[in-house]
């Protein structure tokens, strides 16, 4: 006796095919509609082009920045600052949170009010202090970025460490897991999603503050472009550089979401921006190749960023480039 295959209703089939396409077309349709109305409102004179240049003007300004004003260099400098800040924050916050949460819970309890106050300090008012401490080079900017993403990562890791299911640790112990393997196999996987959610808040805060930090005393970076364009009222350039910041932020966020879905494939999450994650059964564990690729991309971006920071500094002192470069500063 053969088992008849489950009949698939044609309606369901078509709907499954048609639903994502429908949403996709709606989403892109809206995007195209928004861009068209942006362009048209400028062209038809509904909005003064001095305030809101049309879409193509913005694109043209971005292209001009890319060709003449070393836009790539500025993007990489900004990106490198953010990434170094995040990396430093991770290196500082995660071990500290583990140590305080697991090894010294009483000290953690004692220190928490102070650390909460530190986390609530407005980073912008720290910036002048950091300049006083560290001078005016790269260090105060990276210090501010580190500070900003340090506290979200620290507190969410600490919450994660405190909320580990104690029976998991007991099971590990009853199976004679060594301290190291208990950490590696239980504590780390249990808290990694929390580290990640802290990291994502950190990314958002970093991009917020990056522009401000670069506006008040930098010689390179997207914030500096915005600042100098703003001082000259070259409005299309402001929007062009602003567009770059948005795209950069969205790209990093997407990258983190991709990693999050792959690394924590067992966990449902509701994202404040992107909504609920994909259903669990459609997700798979990330392959080692992809992890390797992600790390490689990260290292590559960091290396290029370092090189570009050095390049930007060298360009400042290079008498042959300055006249052309100065067009964009004065």
């Amino acid at each position: 006796m053969t088992v008849a295959p489950m009949p698939i209703s044609p309606g369901l089939h078509i709907k499954a095919l048609y639903q994502p396409l429908y949403w996709l077309s709606l989403k892109f349709g809206l995007l195209i509609l928004a861009l068209t109305s942006w362009e048209l409102s400028g062209r038809l004179g509904l909005i003064d082009e001095a305030f809101l240049p049309s879409f193509f003007q913005t694109l043209a300004a971005t292209k001009e920045l890319w060709e003449k004003a070393f836009l790539f260099n500025h993007i990489m400098v900004s990106l490198a600052r953010v990434l170094i800040g995040l990396l430093m924050a991770l290196i500082l916050a995660v071990p500290l949170a583990y140590a305080l949460g697991r090894i010294f819970p009483h000290t953690a309890h004692f220190l928490e009010p102070l650390l909460r106050v530190f986390g609530l300090i407005n980073p912008y008012c720290l910036f002048p202090l950091f300049v006083v401490f560290f001078g005016s080079g790269e260090v105060p900017k990276i210090a501010v970025l580190t500070w900003v993403s340090l506290w979200p990562i620290f507190f969410s890791t600490l919450t994660g460490v405190r909320n580990i299911d104690p029976s998991l640790i007991k099971i590990g112990r009853s199976m004679k897991a060594s301290k190291f393997s208990a950490f590696w196999k239980i504590v780390l996987p249990a808290t990694a999603p929390q580290i990640f959610s802290g990291l994502r808040i950190g990314v958002e805060m970093s991009f917020f503050i990056l522009i401000a930090a670069e506006m008040t005393g930098a010689t390179a970076g997207l914030g500096w472009i915005i600042h100098s364009a703003g001082a000259l009222y070259q409005v299309p350039r402001i929007y062009g550089a602003g567009l770059c910041v948005v795209i950069l932020g969205l790209l990093i966020n997407r990258f983190l979401v991709f990693l999050q879905n792959g690394l924590f494939f067992w966990k449902e999450s509701v994202d404040p921006i992107l909504g609920p994650s994909r259903p669990l059964d459609s997700r798979q564990k990330i392959s080692p190749l992809k992890i390797f690729l992600a790390i490689a991309i990260f290292t590559l971006v960091l290396a290029i960023g370092f090189q570009q920071i050095i390049l930007a500094e060298r360009r400042l002192n290079d008498p042959t480039i300055i006249p052309e470069y100065r067009v964009w500063t004065e």
Binding site: L114, V117, L120, C125
Partner: protein, 259 residues
């Protein structure tokens, strides 16, 4: 209140670290371990604050700053709460399509817009209020939408089957059950509003707390710089605390989400 060992321990855990930190800081300053050119001692900060309080400049700058943040925040709440309710409740499909655009706009950095706001609204108060409005609107909007979307559908069905009208549904079901989200959105927005106020005032203002500290930095008046920072920190703490108290009182049946 009776003082026994328990309340003492509680007090120790609550404020002990902060007191210890300030004591160490003062000790480091007065022993000369921390250089006076970089670090102002807590006592000198208090002295500067007292001076500010006496000559009325503290009141002047703080009131300007608080009013700016307040106006921006209130405007954002007035626009974003109804809009979020509409997006989450009535036009669900519309919201699904609209969300990417909102996310895109929310990512647009307020500083990039600062010069444009200056062009649009002039150099007066309104450009700063507009900037705060811009940053405060997104958390409220996203959370209000999320809150309305997360209302238990069974509750709505139940109320409807009992013949409840639209207004009753809104007042008795939708608003109470989305209030936890709404409040956390409002708290985040208030925090961000105050957060953004400082750089806005640093860049183009002649009054306000942000101006106070940037002015101190330019003139290299370290105690004033620290005093300004202290006031801003205190205000930030106060706002956070106030919202948490409100949240506790109004949304007391839901478990708090702590980050």
């Amino acid at each position: 209140m009776k003082f026994n060992s328990e309340t003492l321990a509680d007090l120790f855990y609550r404020g002990g670290s902060i007191v210890l930190f300030i004591l160490l800081w003062q000790l480091g300053c007065s022993s000369g371990f921390l250089p006076m050119t970089f670090v102002a001692s807590p006592l000198s900060i208090v002295e500067t604050l007292w001076q500010y309080l006496k000559d009325g400049s503290l009141y002047k700058h703080a009131s300007v700053s608080v009013l700016r943040a307040f106006y921006g925040f209130i405007l954002a709440a007035l626009v974003a709460v109804p809009l979020g309710f509409m997006l989450g409740g009535w036009f669900k499909n519309f919201e699904r399509v609209f969300n990417p655009l909102l996310v895109f706009l929310g990512q647009f950095n307020p500083f990039a817009l600062f010069s444009v706001f200056l062009l649009l609204f002039g150099i007066g108060e309104f450009s700063k209020v507009a900037m705060i409005f811009w940053v405060a609107i997104w958390p409220i909007l996203l959370n209000a939408t999320l809150g309305v979307k997360s209302v238990e559908p069974n509750l709505i069905k139940l109320a409807r089957s009992m013949g409840m009208g639209k207004i009753g549904l809104l007042l008795k079901i939708v608003i109470p059950s989305s209030s936890a989200f709404l409040f956390s959105g409002l708290r985040m927005a208030a925090g961000t509003a105050f957060f953004m106020l400082i750089p806005a005032e640093m860049m183009g203002a002649s009054r306000g707390l942000g101006w106070l500290i940037i002015n101190a930095q330019i003139n290299y008046q370290i105690p004033k710089l620290y005093a300004g920072t202290t006031i801003i920190v205190l205000f930030g703490l106060l706002i956070d605390k106030l919202f948490r108290i409100f949240e506790k009182g109004l949304v007391n049946w839901k478990e708090a989400q702590v980050i």
